[in-house]
Symmetry: C2
Subunit: 215 residues, 2 copies
Amino acid sequence: MTIHPRNEFSSMAAGAALALPIPGFPGPVQPTSLYPTGSEIYAQGELADSLYQIDFGCVRVYRLLADGRRQISAFHLSGEIFGFESGNTHHFFAEAIGATGVRVLRPGPGMEISQAILPLALQGLVRAQEHLLVLGRQNAAERVAAFLLDMADRQGGLECFDLPMSRSDIGDYLGLTIETVSRVFSKLKEKGIIRLPNLRSVEVVKWQTLRNLSE
Amino acid sequence: MTIHPRNEFSSMAAGAALALPIPGFPGPVQPTSLYPTGSEIYAQGELADSLYQIDFGCVRVYRLLADGRRQISAFHLSGEIFGFESGNTHHFFAEAIGATGVRVLRPGPGMEISQAILPLALQGLVRAQEHLLVLGRQNAAERVAAFLLDMADRQGGLECFDLPMSRSDIGDYLGLTIETVSRVFSKLKEKGIIRLPNLRSVEVVKWQTLRNLSE
DNA sequence: CGAGATCTTGATCTGACTCAAGAGTCGTGG
DNA sequence: CCACGACTCTTGAGTCAGATCAAGATCTCG
């Protein structure tokens, strides 16, 4: 297992870009802030009073054990909204993977935000519960297949797509070591199921085989 | 791994009891229905237009793989509300564990249910994401310890509490086999951390040791 | 071009799974 | 009340998928 010391690199988001209104969201919308590679967006224990929408880039949301073991509970891509919490403090860490533009959605006091965000929160709940099945009951190949299909799907279903995150991130999302992730990638490539044009992108050749793998 | 063939036993909930209003819930409240041991409350793919509140008993919510592998995503105890879904169909199965009284909360058409249930949905989201850490990064002893602490906490923190579910259910919740669950229970007993007055209840003797185990 | 990350691959180890058998528990009916 | 049968749970022995440990290879970017 890779150990991840708590990231000390503070966010210092450089202001940027123009504000786009979010459909159905009632609060004031902030302009996009740029988070550099690896910078923290929020930390466990911090006050949670906003939601975040990604303009470009990718975010990892995770939790740590005392000894540094890490579990990434979700990756969020361009357009997605994250930062839902129960109570008013964050239960997780969120960090930018690569340079990422994030827009903060801060509901005004007494604002009725729930109607707009409930479907998003519920979608997150269903996704997390579906990921439990992957972590609890699927083997390494099935986990990687499910991950690739999910990433492809969320990037529009194109045969070739980006993997903005490292093997270490993928391992910590799938509950595997980086070595096991790497071995499964190699095996899938060797069987002609995927191609790896470079380290950070994947081309799916045999969709059905991949789907069968993830069951 | 234990294989669970799809439960064919249909729900046939016998009507019962009196209606108690749920604070903050705007829709009409149904009287309690009794679900016998093992009966289905809803199935994956069914129309999802209600929430459910438990009067007494316990419910398991789970998903199945094609070959019968099962992952229980949550147990719900007396007083708790479950059945949150994204879209209008169920993504999971829900079954009564033992005889269980469930009250159906059916929001009227166009009803503003979100304000009342958002905090509950978010709590479910946080719990599911925290459980991801258990399944992805903790070993068998840590998983069982976390489970026992959670069950104790949700039953009021008493030193002695019920385990309404079987070892098989616990295994399918923690991503372990029943044999491994049983071995960890035996080991905890042998070390004097817990006592097992009978198969379906636990007494925690050394809380701090258990907490240290779950990290 | 070079240094540090990141990734891949190989060899070995181990925690949890599988298979198997026995013990305990519960409900039913004689 | 006890005997029987069917579960459920526990325990043991052996196996295996994925972790760990250890080199190398490749990529990135100043």
